[in-house]
Structures are given as structure tokens and as C-alpha cells.
Amino acid sequence: MKKINYNDKGSILNPLKNLQFYARKPVTEPLGPRDASASYRGFHINDLNKCIGCSSCQKICDNAAITMVEVPSIKEDAAKGLRNLRPAIDYGRCCWCALCVDICPTSAIEMTREYVHTCDGDETDSYFIFPKETGIHGDSFEKGWTKTEDSDLLDRIRRPMGEMLSEARIDNFDEIVDGFTLEMAVQEASRCVDCGLCEDACPAHMHAPNYIRSIYEGNLEQAVEWMYETNPFSHVCGRVCTHICETACSLGHGEGESDPIAIRWLKRFAMDNVSKTKIKQIARKGKARKKSGKSIAVVGAGPAGLTAAFDLVKKGHKVTVYESLPKAGGMTRYGIPNYRLPEDRLDQDIEVIQSVGVDIKYNVKVGTDISMAQLYKDNHAVVMAIGLQMGRSTRIKGSDHKMVVKAVDLLRMIPKGDKVNVPKSAVVIGGGNVAMDIARSMARLQQQKYGEVNITLTALEQLGKTFLADDEEVKESLEEGISILDARGPKQCVIKNNKLVGLETVKVISIFDAQGRFAPKYDEEDLQFHQADMVIEAIGQMSDVSILGEELTEELEWNRGRIQIDENGHTSVEWLWSAGDMVKGPDVINAVADGHRVAKDIDRFLNK
């Protein structure tokens, strides 16, 4: 570089040297817009099909430029996490920072290389745009700023959950999952974009975004408070919930590897790390001071019944719960094995509910010990929440043999401490979570007794496609040495000399007929025999409605074997409500939601 001395004075002719510029090519660009660069932040486009309406763009927009508009022509589905909201952008506010592009969980919103928009003074309406696949003027321009791996503002990968190895867990009923550490939980919680799709999807509408936020802030008590607003079975749900919320989670909708937030494990973490006494205090919050003087009977101390009882007690009513078994919890205790839901956790949930003032009478069987009519006489309202405690049978040949048992019955025996007849080899029929539960429970018992696992599970559905059980369950079952035979229908239980020797299955061609009804078709040629000392049927349950008594059964309206109820769980009999698995399906969180619904309706009814 040439140095210029301060005291130098250039020649007076210096500027004239620039006359040479007359011979140079002009630098002027032709009129009209040039092409913008490949990552230019021009006007927005939005892929309406990819967009799920989570409104993250609206929240990150620093200029409050994004309005969510409802598009009725787009279908919404809360359970899948799809809303019919789409962003509309106010170019009177936008600053083209592309933060909306970088945060979009599904990479729907992007920017083009289009950048010229002018309008007359009275046409400012054109500044409020609804981006679609084409840009502001309906022309298609090349894409400019789109999301890249670097620019993605979201953390797509879930914190790994530690769990016991299959060798360590196979001979006991200890809980498999380790749970988060505080650090991991905070990191996992920090991924949440607070879109609320989970809350919409959850049957009980748990305030997941709020408690995740509280966990992120390290305020676990606040988190528990949020949970108890909607769910008194938080310990249970923190472990065994079917987590529809995670299906809906906007982070799970992303392209490529993108995991939803581990909402269930976060709930579990918060519940495990707040002391029992504190939780009891939290649960009591909002309890009515004044007694209403009304009393309600609840039949069945499962999640639905106890939730309804919990709510009603907090409203100031007197509630008595009748349970035929020696402990409360219903299917969560007698249907879910300990390695998924340790008993002490369930005990704690129930203890909290009792501490609020719910009175549970154990070992009282309604129908025999006390009649429904008596319950009605003593109370202002009755809730039926008895669940599905009877297993369905396949009714194939030989299924009436004594070594052909129902999964629910077996599952109930284990926590009760009854002696279970553990076979050397067993076949489970069914592909749902109950089938997995029993298969894995039996595997543990086999390992304890014989030192090896010999369990075969046959299901109608195809693995990886239509299979009913959770992927996790399948994966863990396989790890534990259970062999799963998919797309196989049971043909008959083979009995020789009055002794069960095994099960014959045939290949499934299709499960449903053209109308979508359940009508499996088999390929009878493809026959297999599975040796077994015991066959376990896990194809579904039904309710024991005999406790209603004849008179009441007559009075009630029925719908395909289930009691007919309205949307609030009210039956056709004025004083009777029904909730939980017996009327709606099929998991804890739905039961809890049902409990709330019924409680609300009863309260409304009693205050009328």
C-alpha cells in the first residue's frame, strides 16, 4: 500500500487523471430488480400443508407482525397436533429477520428472493399478506432464506432416558426407566416452544407447556401445582400415560430426525422430586371451605372414580368410594405391572387423594354387599366407574381349557400376591399393551423360577405397521427375549390327553373388511404350531355390569352393550353417572378426563 505523507501535496493535475474513466464501462445496473442472492431474506411463503398452526412464528416475531388466522378449509385434528391456524404477516411491522423461518418446527414458512412491493397510498391492505406456496404477488420466485441445520433454533434431539439393561431387569419387577436428572430435565424442558398442541391433544387438557416451563425454571413445586390442576394421577401418568401429547408435539412434526419433547418423563421427574407433604399441600389448594351438605357415592376406586371423587371433594361435597378389592387404583394397580409403575408411586397418588378428604371403603362389593338402590337412597348422586375387569375370550376351540387364561386375571393376581402358576412356556394371544404387559410379567416370573424365558406372542397385526402396542413396549419385549409373531391369527388350542400342549395359528391376510369392520381373513394353508403349557388371551376386556341389578339394567338405556351416556357421562337415570373405561376408552388419562367431566356435571346438577 502506498503511504501518503500528511505534508505531501499532490499535483494540481491529479484529478485530471480520472478523465480516463470516460473510456471505462459504466457500472450502472439495468433498470428493474436484479436477482437476489441465494439466501436472501425476501417475502415469505408458507407451505400450508406442512404448517401445523403451532404459532411459534407468532411468538418469536419481535415486531408482533404475525397474526394467526383460522382457515376453515383445513382440517384440524387435536390428537395429531394439527390446527387450522395459519400465519398472516403484516408487512407494516415485519423486519425480515427470518427468525420465524428458523424457529418453524416443520420448516413450513420460508422466504423467497422476491423483494419488490410497492403500492399506492390507499392500498395499504396489500401490506397484510397471507403467505401461501406462492409469494405476495402470486408469482413463484426461487427460495431465498430457508432453514438449514445451522440456522435451526430448535433442539431436535430428545435427551436420552437411561434404563436398565435387559439382563438386569428380566428377573425382577423393578422399574426399568431411570428418570431424568435435574440437568437433563431442564435441558429437555428447554426445548419446548410452548405451542400448546399437547394441551389440546391431552384428553384431560393438562397444562403441559406451563409445567414444562416451570421445570425449566427449576420451580418443581409450581410444576406440580400446574399438574394437580388437571390430574390427580400425576405419578401414574408420569409413568404409564399413553402420551398423546407427545404425538401432537410440534417438535415431533419436523422433517428428518426430530423428537417430540418427553412430556411424560418430565412429569415423572417433577412428581418424583417434590416431597409427599408438599404435594398434599398443593392438592388441597382450592378446596372449598364450606361443606355443601351433599353426598355422592362412587363405585370403583380406579382413576376415573377417584378423579371424580377428588374433584367433588374439593367442591365441598362428601364422597364415599366403594372398592371391591383390598387396595385402590383399579387397573393401574391390578393391570399394570410393577416394572412400569412401581406400587409405591401409585400408593402415593392415592394417599394424596385420600388426604384431600376422599373416603374409600375397601372390600365392599357393590351388588352383593350393598345394592345400587341403597347407594342411591343414601346419596344425592352415584358414579359408576367400575372399569373393564373381565377378559374377553377368543372362543376358539379349546379355549375353555383351564390352562387357557385371561391376561387381566393373571395380571391381577401378581400384585395381589396370589400364587401364580408359572408355566415353562406360554403363548400370548393379542398385540396390545395388555398383551405386552402379561408377556413381560410372565417372562420375569419364568426367569425367576426357571432361569430362562420362553414366551411367544402372536398378534393379528403387522409389526411396524398396524401393531397396537407402543414401539417402546415391542422393543423392550424383544430385548427381554420374548418372540413376537405378527400377522398370525389363533386357530385352536391343541389339547392332548386333556393337557394343553400348544396353540395353532394361521396367517392373517387382512383384518378389516371393505367397510372397516373387524373381520379377519386367514390363509388357512399357512399353519403353525407353537408349543406351550399355557395360553394367555389378551384380546380385550369387558365390564361386569351384573352389579347394577336387574331393575336398574332395565331402566338404563344401552348402546352396544355399554351404558348409554351423554357427553358429560350422565346416564339416562337422573342420579347415575358413569365414567372411565366402562363407558369410554381406553387409558388412564382418558379416565381422568372422564372423571373431571362427570364431577363437573354432578356439581352443576347438585347446585341446580
Binding site: 500500500m1 501518503i4 500528511y6 499532490g10 439466501s39 419481535d62 415486531n63 433442539d155 428447554s190
Partner: protein
């Protein structure tokens, strides 16, 4: 119009009179005003009048999430926006206790130097225009535009890059970018003679600029003058060297200085600095390809991002001088307080008032441009 509104002004006892320069005045950089008391065409006293560009930035930032502020910080100084982003990001990083990956630091350095080149080219043009020379202005602006083209290439925005983010930068460089950059540097170097002939050694300009708005070193220090303006007074002080940030301690560059402290010294310092920046950029072109790795340290989800309690004072050498961000966090998702110390807040008010005193009216504009005073940094 109401003729009765136009009455004779009452004169004071002396023959001094007052005029306003700005806010709408071609000799004012940006939207800024000056009240001058004149005796003949000699300025007796001057008083700056700011606030025309006041947006309440510091208040706005307190109401936005940490990440949302990224879009707003570059607006504080329009001709040289990159240092704003970097300083803010650096302050937040310091509070959080994270560091940008090494590659990101190199890219940031490149962005800062490119921005310095653009800003200096712009100032040359402005300064020349205040002496009535419009060709250098046309050149300066047109050459700056070529730098902006590069900005557009790798940041996606021409003027406001919004490219930094606490923890690193937002995007990887596009392919063949460094080649383009190298070509641009070649071009700028080839322009050196043209600029020298037309501006830096042009007698018309030199005569006007020499001795105009001269500051001694002690006056400069007293007035907290920084950046090229301080270096024109003989003190080779540069935040890049004395309080190193990013990767400046790995780069070789000189700190140009001049002794006389006048407008001519200042523009010469800027000229030399421009070529030092080119030198730095050449080193970056050489080193950057060998520096592999990530460009961003992950931060939590920006929507629920709480920065832990603390405060940080991040300083950066912008094209105008020492730029600092003082950021305070109370552990929330928004800054508790952001204070922007724009270099021009020192230059455009007290220094300008000081230098205007005794200057001739026609030189006031030149003094302002030679200080490269950027009003939005005063107003915020």
C-alpha cells in the same frame, strides 16, 4: 401564508446571530441538528440538538426476548451495523458463560472487517461531498455497494445482516464465497490510485481539510474521543489490539495513526485503516478454510430462554470508535437493561460543539463528517 408571521427578528446587542443547521440539511450526516451562534461566518458557539432519531432502543430491548433483540440492535448504527450485533452477542455470551465456536469467531471477524470497509467507503464519500466533491461520493457509495452484495450473499440481508446470534452465527458461508471476497479485495486495492488522485492527494480537498477541526491528543483524551479520530491525534489505541476480542490477537495488522488531529489526518487514518482491513481479510481468506467445525454453540430454545443473572460490558472497535454494550440480566427471558455506548455519542455532541467553536460555518459540515458522527448512536 400569513405575512404577519414573518416579522423582523430582534437583534441582540452584538452583531452575533443564530442559525439552525438541520435536521433537514445536506451538510448533516443523518437526522441531526445544530444551533450555531455566528459572528460573520465564524462560529462563536454551537449547541447540538439531538433526538430526531430517538426510538427508545434501550426501552424497546427491555421488552423483547433475548433473541428478538438481535433484529433490533443493528438499527442503532445504520452505516456500520455489524459491530452492534457482535457486541450484543458477545455480551450475552459472557453472561451465559458460553463461547462461540472458533469458526464462528473467524466469520464474525470477517463480517466486522467487511463492515468496516463498507463504512469507511461511505464516509469517504460523505466527507468529500461536504467539500463539494461529488465524484468521490459516487465512487464511495458504488464501491460500498459491492461490499453490500457480499453481505447479501452470506447473511441474506444487504444492510442489516442479523447474522449473529448469541453462541455463534446463523449460517455457514455459501460456496465460493471466499473467492468472491478475494476478487472484491483485489478490486478495492486496484481503486487505491483512483481515490488517491481524486481525493486524498487532491489539492482542492487537501487545502480544505488540513487544519480543519484540529484536536490535540490531550483534548481528545479529555473528550473521550475514540477510534480513528483518536488515532488521528497520534495515540495508537485500538480496542482490537488493547482489549482483544474474537480472533484479533491471531491476526497481523498495523494501527495507522497521524499526528495532527485535523480532518485531513482523520480521513488519512481511515484510508489506511481500510487497507489494513483488507490485509486482515486476506489473512482470514487464507486461514478460514482450514478452520473446521461448528458455527454455533447451541442455546436453549429461544422462546423460553432465561439468561442467568449477571452483567457484561462488551467492547468492540467499530468503524467509528469504541462501541460498548452493557447488558444486565436478572435471570429472566428478557434483558433487564441494555446500555449502548455508541462511539458517536462522544463525537457528535461535546467534541463537535468543541470543534465548531471558532470554525467557519462552511467547515461545520466537514467537521461533522470527518468525525464520522452517526446521530442514531447518540439518539438510540
Amino acid at each position: 401564508m400569513r405575512p404577519e408571521n414573518y416579522q423582523a427578528v430582534k437583534l441582540g446587542d452584538s452583531n452575533e446571530y443564530e442559525i439552525f443547521i438541520g435536521p433537514n440539511h445536506p451538510g448533516i450526516e443523518g437526522n441531526y441538528a445544530f444551533r450555531l451562534m455566528l459572528d460573520g461566518d465564524i462560529v462563536v458557539s454551537g449547541k447540538a440538538d439531538a433526538g430526531y432519531l430517538h426510538r427508545g432502543f434501550e426501552k424497546l430491548m427491555e421488552g423483547r426476548l433475548w433473541i428478538q433483540n438481535l433484529a433490533i440492535v443493528p438499527r442503532i448504527c445504520v452505516p456500520d451495523p455489524a459491530p452492534m450485533e457482535v457486541a450484543y452477542s458477545m455480551a450475552v455470551e459472557e453472561i451465559m458463560g458460553i463461547e462461540a465456536p472458533i469458526r464462528a469467531q473467524w466469520i464474525r471477524t470477517m463480517q466486522l472487517e467487511l463492515s468496516r470497509v463498507a463504512a469507511h467507503l461511505f464516509t469517504f464519500g460523505g466527507h468529500a461531498a461536504t467539500t463539494g466533491m461529488y465524484t468521490p461520493m459516487f465512487w464511495g457509495v458504488a464501491d460500498r455497494d459491492l461490499v453490500l452484495d457480499l453481505f447479501e450473499d452470506f447473511t441474506g440481508g444487504r444492510v442489516y445482516s442479523i447474522y449473529n446470534i448469541p453462541g455463534g452465527v446463523r449460517r455457514e458461508l455459501p460456496p465460493e464465497f471466499l473467492q468472491k471476497l478475494s476478487n472484491l479485495l483485489d478490486y478495492l486495492e486496484s481503486r487505491q490510485n483512483d481515490y488517491d488522485n481524486l481525493l486524498f492527494t487532491n489539492q482542492v480537498f487537501v487545502e480544505r481539510a488540513k487544519g480543519c477541526g484540529a484536536l490535540t491528543q490531550s483534548q481528545a483524551l479529555e473528550l473521550s474521543v475514540t477510534g480513528p479520530n483518536l488515532r488521528a491525534c497520534g495515540l495508537a489505541y485500538d480496542v482490537r489490539r488493547d482489549d482483544p476480542y474474537l480472533v484479533y490477537d491471531e491476526l497481523e495488522f498495523d494501527i495507522p495513526r497521524q499526528k495532527h488531529g485535523d480532518a485531513y489526518s482523520r480521513i488519512l487514518v481511515r484510508r489506511d485503516e481500510l487497507f489494513q482491513s483488507i490485509r486482515i481479510l486476506r489473512q482470514i481468506i487464507e486461514r478460514l478454510p482450514s478452520i473446521k467445525g461448528k458455527i454455533r454453540t447451541p442455546i436453549p430454545n429461544p422462546l423460553s430462554w432465561n439468561v442467568r443473572k449477571g452483567e457484561a460490558y462488551a467492547r468492540v472497535e467499530s468503524s467509528k470508535g469504541e462501541l460498548a454494550y452493557y447488558v444486565v440480566s436478572d435471570g429472566g427471558d428478557k434483558p433487564y437493561r441494555v446500555h449502548v455506548r455508541g462511539p458517536s455519542s462522544m463525537h457528535a455532541v461535546q467534541t463537535l460543539e468543541f470543534l465548531a467553536k471558532g470554525a467557519r460555518l462552511e467547515d461545520v459540515a466537514q467537521i461533522m463528517f470527518s468525525l464520522d458522527a452517526c446521530p442514531p448512536e447518540v439518539d438510540r
